[in-house]
């Protein structure tokens, strides 16, 4: 056990799985970096360094740079997975799904169903999401709801370094296509992470704290923000349960319902847009299945229905923060 960053935790999970299973290969734009040039090989290890060090250990047959052709190399991951490999392909920023989504949602996601249960497509697509980098509208979105909508895909949104390692290990071992969302703002976050491999099962939410008055369900980086809000609320005498679903598909509906039945109130925190979102999905599930337990209106704390702005002041106003969560809890309690 030692302190590791979110970046190191993901890297370690991939490296350990590559040691365990020779069918695990990694590819993406500059996942090594430097291929074909005269300078350093493994120059980048991914644009933000998550796959750094894999090339020297595993060599160019298992760690491949790609042309900037997301349709071709994400589709190649689907084709490779359906024929016996376990690729971990990187779609650098999830915003780039726009140029390759067909290969994900029409091909990989549907093989098993369309082919009558005979296909197995064990692939992981790693992708970065999230605002806070001043990266503006096409490098900052949180598009996990789009993937959550698609039957056949599993969607993972880890909220801390410990979570990231265990969930990445499970993602690589999993036999279904998995979209693994990494919040780029969190790469340098650190916590104690075991050195040995461990897998965190999908569809099992965790409670980061338990309280009596309100259930706050938060996604990805918002789990940490929700915990900050819960600290504030505690000072005001309000005790909150904070639920981290870990995966939006499958979603641990049972745990969310149980928590809402205990507290009688629900606030969902999601840094994505509000419409047809994970936040609205969880809200509707609770409204359907725990209506009688509710003592106040369900509240959603989300980004507004706008693209992500560039100016730092606007971007800071775009992302949910502890104060907005505290306000929402107060409305739910009123």
């Amino acid at each position: 056990m030692s302190k590791k960053s979110y970046r190191q935790a993901i890297n370690e999970a991939i490296a350990q799985e590559m040691r365990r299973d020779e069918n695990v290969l990694v590819w993406g734009e500059d996942n090594a970096g430097g291929t074909g040039g005269d300078g350093e090989q493994d120059a980048w290890g991914g644009v933000l360094g998550v796959t750094k060090g894999l090339l020297p250990e595993f060599g160019p047959n298992r760690v491949l740079d790609t042309p900037i052709s997301e349709s071709a190399f994400i589709g190649a991951a689907a084709g490779a997975a359906a024929t016996g490999l376990r690729p971990v392909a990187e779609l650098m920023f999830v915003d780039f799904m726009g140029v390759c989504f067909d290969q994900i949602f029409n091909q990989a996601a549907k093989f098993r169903y369309m082919f009558g249960g005979k296909a197995v497509t064990p692939m992981v697509i790693r992708t970065m999401y999230g605002a806070g980098f001043r990266a503006a509208s096409q490098h900052s979105q949180a598009l996990y709801s789009v993937f959550t909508h698609v039957p056949g895909l599993k969607v993972v949104v880890p909220s801390s370094p410990y979570e990231a390692k265990g969930l990445m290990t499970q993602a690589i071992r999993d036999d279904d296509p998995v979209i693994f969302f990494e919040n780029k703002v969190m790469y340098d976050d650190e916590e104690e992470v075991p050195d040995d491999p461990y897998a965190i099962p999908f569809g099992e939410a965790r409670l980061t704290r338990e309280g009596d008055d309100v259930t706050i369900v938060a996604i990805g980086r918002m789990v940490g923000i929700a915990n900050q809000a819960a600290d504030e609320l505690e000072k005001a005498g309000i005790s909150a349960t904070v639920v981290d679903p870990r995966t939006t598909s499958p979603l641990d509906v049972d745990t969310i319902i149980e928590c809402v039945e205990d507290t009688g109130r629900l606030v969902v925190v999601d840094e994505s847009h509000p419409r047809c979102s994970v936040a609205s999905d969880i809200s509707s599930i609770v409204a359907q299945h725990a209506f009688k337990a509710l003592k106040g209106p369900i509240q959603m704390v989300t980004a507004p229905h706008t693209p992500v702005p560039f100016a730092p002041e606007l971007e800071d106003a775009y992302v949910p923060n502890p104060a907005k969560i505290v306000d929402a809890v107060k409305v739910a309690m009123a």
């Binding site: 290969l25 349709s71 084709g79 490779a80 029409n106 009558g116 197995v120 599993k154």
Partner: protein
């Protein structure tokens, strides 16, 4: 590459099976027995048969929405194919895929595809598997002239070359992307496109099994030997519309009748094989009779077969969920 007598008869059987399968699907679809969309391969038989004759189960193909011919040539079970097209529970995909998603991974058939240009990226991945695992297999992406204009196809040319993959891109150019002529919709030429990516390319008459077979042998051999991707531009014709129900008003008057007379790949095969003294008419007559019986049988069975049970609606989405 000289084929044995048995291999020749087998190749003719593949072509005859495709033809009779498609002509019968046309008939049954017109009568309302078959649901959905179907896109028929009649007229293009020599391409699938000539190319797939070189392949075994370790070799992978990805097909198009005009996929029945590729399926048959790659060894998929004809009975289960017909059951699938009828939407029956015993179909090749349990009745959940249908004509546009018919597949059999155990035969190396990675699926027809409802998305034009959907296959080439998948084939790059299948080829990477073959290369990494050293199976000796190759992977073949069939696209039409329409699919040749998709970014996925052009990206895959680049990726296959950059990764030096054992891929063959087969552009089956039947002259029409849906209702639009390839003479209008394809800028430059298929051959020049391949050249632009540094890929060897060959153009071949897709009505002539022997020409396709010989050209395919060379590009497949190169891919197996580690020589990287190639492109085949196969020029052929389809006897039916883009899909069944297409009135084909965009085609010239008498075009289909002329093609059936002059460009019928089965007739051309028969003439070439008998003139060269490789087979006799009786050999092919026998195959014709056997295939006619087979198609009759599978249609009769498909008509009577049961649909998938309703509980299958929600199965096979995930391995675990």
């Amino acid at each position: 590459m000289q084929l044995s007598r048995d291999e020749l008869i087998e190749s003719y059987r593949v072509m005859r099976t495709i033809r009779d399968f498609e002509e019968r699907v046309h008939e049954e679809f017109s009568g309302g027995a078959i649901p959905g969309f179907v896109h028929l391969y009649s007229g293009e038989e020599a391409s699938a048969a000539g190319i797939c004759q070189h392949l075994s189960d370790k070799d992978k193909i990805a097909s198009t929405h005009r996929g029945h011919g590729h399926c048959i040539a790659k060894g998929c079970d004809v009975r289960q194919m017909m059951l699938e097209i009828y939407g029956r529970g015993e179909g090749l995909c349990g009745g959940k895929g249908g004509s546009m998603h018919i597949a059999d991974l155990s035969k190396g058939m990675l699926g027809a595809n409802g998305i034009v240009g959907g296959g080439p990226p998948l084939i790059c991945g299948a080829a990477l598997t073959a290369k990494y695992k050293k199976t000796g297999g190759v992977a073949i992406a069939f696209v039409g002239d329409g699919g040749s204009n998709q970014g996925t196809t052009l990206e895959s040319y680049n990726l296959a070359k950059v990764w030096n993959l054992p891929v063959i891109f087969v552009v089956e150019d039947n002259g029409y992307a849906e209702a639009t002529s390839s003479s209008w919709s394809v800028a430059g030429s298929q051959m020049d496109r391949a050249k632009g990516f540094g890929m060897p390319a060959v153009q071949v008459d897709g009505h002539d099994f022997f020409a396709v077979h010989e050209a395919a042998g060379e590009v497949i051999e190169r891919a197996r030997a580690g020589g990287g991707p190639s492109l085949m531009h196969v020029i052929l014709n389809r006897f039916f519309g883009h899909f069944e129900g297409d009135a084909m008003t965009y085609r010239a008057e008498g075009e289909i009748a002329r093609l059936r007379k002059e460009k019928d790949s089965l007739k051309i095969f028969r003439t070439n094989a008998t003139q060269a003294g490789l087979l006799e008419d009786a050999d092919m007559d026998k195959v014709d009779k056997e295939v006619a019986g087979l198609i009759d049988d599978v249609v009769k069975e498909s008509e009577k077969a049961t649909p998938p049970p309703l509980e299958k609606l929600t199965t096979d989405v995930y391995v675990n969920y």
